[in-house]
Amino acid sequence: MSDADTIGPADGGHLIAAEYVLGVLSAEERREVERRLPHERALASEVAFWEERLVGLTDAVAPVTPPQTMWPQIEATIGATAPGTPRSPSVWQSLTFWRGFGIGSATLAAASLAALAYIGLVPAARPPLMATIAGSSGQPNFVAAVTATGDSLVVVPAALLTTDPRAIELWLILPGPNQRPHSLGLVQPGQPIKLTIPPELAAQLGPDATLAVSLEPPGGSPTGQPTGPVIASGKLTNL
C-alpha cells in the first residue's frame, strides 16, 4: 500500500462519526453531523462509541487549574438561567474584546481613591463595602463601593472597555442558595455612576454578595434577568 492510497467517499462515509469525534472535520461538516444526530440513532450511537473509547487519550493532557475568577462568573451566569432553559448560543459572544485594554495599577488605585473620596463625603454609618469587578483574566473593569448610607452604589470604571454597542448591566447576587440576580441598572464604561439600591436589597446587603456585569440589549435586559454573557464579577468585602 502506498502513502498516496486514498479511501473513497463510500468507505469514508460510515466513518463520519469517528471523524466528528476525532475533530478533523470542518465547521460546515460538523454542523451537518450535528443536524443529523437527533434524527439518526445509528449515527448517535456511533458517536457515543467513539467518545467513550477515545476519551482515554485525554489522559495525556496535564490538568491546569483555571483562574479563581472563573467559578464566580459561572455562578453569576447560571443565576440567570434555570437548568434546561433554552438559550441561544449566539448570545455567547467572545469575552476576548474585554481584554487587551490593559490598565496600570495606578489607574485602579486612582479609581479606588475616587470611590473612597466619594463615599467619604457622608459620615460613615457602617464599614464601607467595596468590590473589584474583574473579568476572567483577573483584570479589574470596575470598582464599586456602597455609600455610607447603604442605599446606593458608586461604580467607577477601572479599565477602558469596549465599543460593543450593547448595554452594560450591573447585577447584585445575594449570598445563599438559589439567589437570583437583581438588576441595579446600567453602567457606563467611560464614567462613574451612582446607582440606587432598592431598599429590600439594601437591607440584606453585606460582605459576600456578588456583583456581576453582563452585556444586554440597548436599555438593558428585557427579562429582568441577564440575557447576555456575564463578562466580569466580584464579591463585596468590608474595607
Binding site: 498516496a4 478533523v24 467513550e52 469575552l95 476572567s136
Partner: protein, 185 residues
C-alpha cells in the same frame, strides 16, 4: 479515590445539578475543571479563549445535565465531549488567526494536586485503547492522537506532517477502521 467511585459520585452530582442544585455544580466544577481546562487549552492554545470556552462548558452542563444518561455514557466522557466540541467549534471560528506557536499554556502552572478526575477512562478501557493504538502503524496512531488532542483538521495535519491531504485522510481513516475492529473485538 478510585475511578469507579469518582464516576459514580460525578453521576450522582450531575443528577442533582439537573434538579437545579448549584452546590452540586460546584462539586462537579471542583472535580473536573482542571482536567477540562487542560483539554481546552491544548486545543485552543490560548488562555483567554480556553477560559471563555470553559465558562460556556459549565453553563452548558448546568442547562443540559438532565440530558445526561448515566446508562449510556460515563459522566466524564459526556463532559469532555462538551468541552472538546465547544473548543473545536471555537478553533474553527478563529481558524484564520490560529497561531502555531509554542504552547502558550506551557508556562501555566500545571496543577500540583490534580483534581479527582485525573485519569478519565477506566483502567481496563484505557489499556485496551493503548493496546489497539499500538497495533496500528505508528504514523496512523500518531495522526489520530494529534487529531484528537489538538482538534486539527485533515488539512492542518497534512501540512504539519508534510504529506498530501489524501494521504493524511487515508492514514486516519485506515487507522480508525482498524481501531474500531480492535476496540470492538
Amino acid at each position: 479515590m478510585n475511578g469507579d467511585a469518582t464516576r459514580s459520585q460525578l453521576a450522582a452530582a450531575l443528577a442533582r445539578v439537573a434538579s437545579g442544585d448549584r452546590a452540586a455544580l460546584r462539586m462537579v466544577y471542583q472535580d473536573t475543571s482542571a482536567k477540562l481546562f487542560g483539554v481546552c487549552l491544548r486545543i485552543l492554545n490560548s488562555r483567554s479563549e480556553a477560559e471563555d470556552v470553559l465558562q460556556e462548558v459549565y453553563v452548558t452542563v448546568w442547562r443540559k445535565a438532565a440530558d445526561f444518561d448515566s446508562s449510556r455514557a460515563s459522566p466524564i466522557t459526556w463532559m469532555v465531549a462538551i468541552a472538546r466540541n465547544r473548543a473545536i467549534d471555537r478553533l474553527r471560528a478563529s481558524a484564520v488567526s490560529r497561531r502555531m506557536e509554542p504552547l502558550e499554556a506551557a508556562d501555566a502552572v500545571s496543577d500540583p494536586a490534580p483534581a479527582a478526575v485525573e485519569r478519565l477512562a477506566s483502567a481496563q478501557q484505557h489499556q485496551r485503547l493503548a493496546r489497539c493504538l499500538e497495533e496500528l502503524e505508528a504514523r496512523h496512531s500518531g495522526a489520530i492522537r494529534a487529531a484528537f488532542l489538538d482538534g486539527a483538521t485533515y488539512e492542518e495535519l497534512a501540512v504539519r506532517m508534510s504529506v498530501p491531504l489524501g494521504t493524511m485522510k487515508s492514514w486516519i481513516r485506515r487507522g480508525l477502521l482498524k481501531l474500531r475492529a480492535c476496540l470492538e473485538g
